[in-house]
C-alpha cells in the first residue's frame, strides 16, 4: 500500500536509552493500531543517509517527529532534510507530565514504560486528527 498521502510518524528509536524505546513503541501503537489508515512510518536512518525516495516522501507529506531525549535526532534529521514537519514530541516532556511512569529496559520495556508509550501515542493521535482536520 502506498505511503503517500499519509502522515509520517518518525521516531528516533534511540538505542542507548529506554526513552528511545518508548518513542518507538508509541509510534508503532499509532501506525499499527490507532491510526493505521492515516499514519505510517519510514526508517529514520534512510533520512540520515539522504535516501532520495524517502527524502521525497518527507518533503511532500506531513511529518511528526517522536524523540527520546532533548537531542531530538528525529526532528533535526527531518528539518535538515527539509521535511514537512508539523509537530514534534519528546518522551522526556511526557515523562515530566507522568512522573510515576519511569521507563526501564531497551530490549523490553517495563509496564510503566509501556503505559508512558500509550500516553504519548494518545498525544500523537490527537495531533494527527488535528492535522487532518485542517487539511
Amino acid at each position: 500500500m502506498s505511503k503517500s498521502g499519509k502522515i509520517f510518524v518518525i521516531s528516533c528509536s534511540g538505542i542507548g536509552k529506554a526513552l528511545g524505546t518508548v518513542g518507538r513503541t508509541a509510534m508503532y501503537e499509532v501506525v499499527e493500531k490507532l491510526r493505521p489508515n492515516e499514519a505510517t512510518t519510514v526508517c529514520l536512518p534512510l533520512i540520515t543517509i539522504g535516501d532520495e525516495t524517502v527524502l521525497k516522501l518527507v518533503r511532500t507529506n506531513s511529518c511528526i517527529s517522536v524523540d527520546g531525549c532533548p537531542f531530538q535526532c528525529a526532528r533535526k534529521n527531518i528539518e535538515a532534510s527539509k521535511g514537512k514537519l508539523v509537530a514534534s514530541f519528546m518522551v522526556t516532556d511526557v515523562l515530566r507530565e507522568n512522573r510515576g511512569l519511569k521507563p526501564e529496559g531497551v530490549i523490553e520495556l517495563n509496564p510503566k514504560g509501556l503505559k508512558l508509550a500509550s500516553r504519548l501515542a494518545e498525544k500523537i493521535v490527537r495531533q494527527i486528527d488535528e492535522t487532518n482536520k485542517n487539511r
Binding site: I15, G20, E32, C43, I49, C73, V106, I107
Partner: protein, 143 residues
C-alpha cells in the same frame, strides 16, 4: 585521534519500517547488555547528523561494526559518511537466509521465534567483536 583498542563500537540501523531493523536493534542490545557488555559501546545512529563533532568522532575513536537490517546498509553508509569507515558490517537480512525455519514478521514486540533469530544475529556480532579485539581463539560466542 587515538583509537581505543579495548572497546568496539556497534552502530545499529534500528530500521523502524522493517522487522529486520527491529532484529538489528535488539541483537545489538543483546551484545551490549549480555554477550559482550565490557567490550562494546554504542551511539544512536541519527545522532551523527543531529549531534556535534564529539558524536561524529565515534568511529575514529572506536573500531566500529555496523549492524544493518537490510541491504540499504544505513548504519554502514551513515557511519562512513559522518564518522569513519566501519571495520565490518553485519546485515540481518543476509544472516536470516541461513535460518529459513525462522521468520522475522513483527516490527514492534518480538515473538519467541524472532527473539531466537535476534540471538543468532547477536552471536554473529559478538564473534565479530572478538575478531576485532583479536580474541577469536580465546573466547566462544556463547557469552
Amino acid at each position: 585521534m587515538a583509537i581505543a583498542k579495548d572497546k568496539v563500537g556497534i552502530v545499529s540501523c534500528s530500521g523502524e519500517d522493517l522487522p529486520e531493523g527491529t532484529i538489528s536493534r535488539i541483537a545489538t542490545r543483546m551484545v551490549l547488555e549480555k554477550l559482550r557488555p565490557d567490550d562494546t559501546v554504542t551511539i544512536c545512529l541519527p545522532l551523527f547528523l543531529a549531534g556535534s563533532e564529539d558524536e561524529r568522532a565515534f568511529a575514529k575513536v572506536f573500531p566500529t561494526i555496523a549492524v544493518d537490517g537490510c541491504d540499504k546498509r544505513c548504519a554502514e553508509v551513515g557511519t562512513k559518511k559522518y564518522s569513519g569507515k566501519p571495520v565490518a558490517t553485519i546485515v540481518v537480512s543476509e544472516i536470516i537466509k541461513k535460518y529459513p525455519r525462522l521468520k522475522a514478521k513483527s516490527r514492534d514486540k518480538l515473538s519467541a521465534e524472532e527473539k531466537e533469530l535476534a540471538l543468532k544475529v547477536a552471536k554473529e556480532i559478538a564473534a565479530k567483536v572478538d575478531e576485532v579485539l583479536g580474541r577469536k581463539k580465546l573466547r566462544g560466542v556463547t557469552g
